[in-house]
Amino acid sequence: MSIEKGRISSQQLLFLIAGFVQGSVLLIDFTVGITEHQTWMVILAGLAVTAPVIFSYVALAKMFPGMNLVQINDMVYGRFLGKVLSIYYIFFFLMTLSFNIRDVGELYITFLMPDTPFIFLLIVFTATCAYAVTKGIEVLARVSHLFVVTGLLTIISTSTLLFDQMDFSNFLPFFELPFIRIFQGIHIVSIIPFGETVAFLMIMECLNKTERVVKNTFFGLLIGAVTLLIVAVRNTAVLGRTQTIWTAPSFQTIRLIDIGTVLTRMDFLIGIAQTILIFLKCSIFFYALVVALSQLFGLKSYLPLVLPIAGIEVIIAATVFQSPVDHAMITQNAGIIYSAPLIFVFPPLSLLIAKIRGLPKCERGKET
């Protein structure tokens, strides 16, 4: 039994992954406060650390074709342990999604619509994501092309417009910060944009062909990482030392664009790009969450869950943190700890156990 009927090609997976990673463009600000001008190398190191783990996800998806994470957990760890692990994953999806929704709300309330009630922004955004999820993964996969290209174009064009304000000596000295801060930075980066791709274990079951998945996953990650890298380099080169003090360095960077006093106030560009990219990311998380839940409960379709989950998400997002300061503190210090095993330990472990037990040997356990 498969909950999702839609099928996506592996090329669409590439764009989904790229858009997913790009959606975290604003979230690298969590890292900037810690790693300052060395953020760019932290992103590269984070990619290098996470890439093997992500390939283990792909290997897992290839080993269990047509099965999602919850089914894989059941098969590998048995009914009981598998369920416990799946609940842990569902908790992770639930929280991460609400944090991301809150991010959008904070972005709007700080920069774009300061007087609008926070909860209203959350409801509108979540409703849009919920609508996208009801349309199924195929629709998301199709729009992802457009979103990734828009995101890339925005980021590249703003970087070009800021080229005259860039000072590349801001990257010096190369190695200055104590290693512990770099390590924390790598930890954050390897989890927040890259490691969260564990949600794709809920989506890879929809692949129509499993050939070239490794290659396409890699290119998707690469596009996402390059986008993050361009943003990090742009912000550091333009803002220099001040990049650590702004609430959102990317926004501040764009506000500095001033071409002949005519081409100014380009904030809306980053507003648009940010909204659509984080929309893609939230929709993917939302999709993973409802599919995992309905698989856990043995439902035939995930549609009845969409609306209640959307409501729960809005409430969590509105109440979980009292301020962006709280948000940043928890994410930097606690969020990356509880999600680490889900990203770095369990998928490779599942792969290992499946290899040892010679899974999947039969159709047993699939009826859950």
Binding site: T110, T116, P173, T242, Q252, L256
Partner: protein
């Protein structure tokens, strides 16, 4: 069939409902309700511990119309300077609403001018609002008034309608003389965040002559840890800009080889490269400057457009540049303020030694040696190749 009909009617009404609720007037501020701020001045109030904030607002009704006919509103101003005191900047910004009736709209602010007294006390505590407020642009210019900032905003310029726009125009004209340079909020904050670098902001003053008062921007105020410690004269600023590589244009005057008059050069291009070096404990800054200029004016009858004369003028102009740099360096030693950003250059190159340098920077700075190497070139003589003088053939 009927069900489908009902559903589409429902959809239709839903669309109308959304049209009403989602039109987004929640924080609508129409243009006639906006108090558009184009310039701000910060002074100390007579009451101790309070500041006086002056905001220059655009008067909507006169801004477009009054400029056309001189008969009706010859004396009417298109702007309104409104001020209010407060315990902090934001307090004062909100106090102003007692006079304006509307919140200030700061998004179009061109410049923030700090009064002399407040600059001497320190800008650290006042700059926060200008960076934090969400309507404020990090590109807003920052200036320091010789006297009171509110007086500067009160001088109506001759050619422009708004004093604040006039000041912004004057600041942008630094490219012609290199007698100061443009500093915006972000640049100032960036310098303020460096532990050892000094901060600079252009100085604006009022010049009184027979016809009236004019605004004059020249020279720069030097800050150390946000407190103003002194002023740089315009020649010293150019000395600083030579080192920073920010000289865009300007005039160099040297005496002509025959000592009869002057050769006046216009700077066309200038580049600089600074390499710090630590030689057995001594810090040496190797400054390499490449300058190109054109012969724009000469006041002697001797033909300067010849290679021998060029060589002498080039040497003389290199000497002028060297003196300007040394003047800037000497005065910065007097203030003990690192206006050149030498400390950052050292930080970037010698990150290991930096920790000890940083703690003793105030002692180290005056001991820094400069090694200046200047290469000047005259690349053109503009429209004349000989001076205006009687032909020599008769002699």
């Amino acid at each position: 069939m009927e069900k489908k009909m009902n559903f589409s009617i429902m959809k239709f009404f839903l669309c109308f409902f959304l049209l009403l609720t989602l039109s987004g007037c929640i924080s609508a501020r129409e243009i006639n309700d906006l108090e558009i701020v184009i310039g701000m001045g910060v002074d100390k109030d007579e009451n101790p511990g309070k500041i006086l904030l002056t905001a220059q607002l655009v008067k909507e009704d006169t801004a477009g119309g009054a400029s056309g006919d001189g008969s009706g509103g010859g004396d009417s101003k298109a702007y309104w300077n409104v001020s209010s005191s407060g315990k902090s900047i934001f307090d004062a910004v909100r106090q102003i609403t007692h006079k304006t009736g509307n919140r200030l709209f700061i998004s179009h602010n061109q410049a923030v001018i700090f009064g002399n007294d407040i600059a001497a006390e320190g800008l650290q505590e006042y700059i926060d609002y200008f960076l934090r407020a969400h309507e404020m642009r990090p590109t807003a210019l920052i200036l320091v008034a010789e006297e009171k900032a509110s007086d500067i905003l009160n001088i109506k310029p001759e050619a422009e309608e708004f004093p604040a726009f006039n000041i912004a125009k004057l600041v942008n004209s630094y490219v012609f003389t290199s007698h100061f340079y443009k500093v915006n909020m972000k640049d100032f904050a960036s310098c303020l965040m460096g532990a050892t670098t000094a901060q600079l902001a252009p100085l604006v003053s009022i010049i009184q002559d027979e016809d009236g008062k004019d605004i004059y921007v020249s020279g720069m105020a030097v800050f150390k840890n946000g407190k103003m410690v002194g002023k740089l004269h315009h020649d010293e600023v150019r000395g600083l800009l030579w080192v920073l590589g920010k000289v865009k244009s300007g005039v160099i005057i040297v005496s002509s080889p025959d000592e009869q008059g002057k050769a006046v050069l216009e700077i066309v291009k200038a580049k600089s490269k600074v390499t710090p070096e630590i030689e057995d404990g001594n810090i040496v800054m190797h400054i390499k400057i490449k300058e190109e200029s054109s012969l724009s004016e000469q006041t002697t009858t001797e033909n300067l457009a010849d290679n021998k004369a060029f060589e002498k003028i080039q040497e003389a102009s290199a000497e002028v540049i060297r003196q300007e740099i040394m003047a800037a360096f000497d005065i910065s030693k007097e203030f003990n303020a690192d206006i050149f950003g030498f400390s950052e250059m050292l930080h970037k190159k010698y990150s290991k030694e930096w920790k000890t340098i940083k703690d003793n920077w105030d002692v180290i700075y005056p001991t820094i040696e400069l090694d200046i190497d200047i290469e000047t070139k005259i690349i053109k003589t503009d429209l004349l190749k000989k001076p205006v003088m009687p032909s020599e053939e008769e002699n």
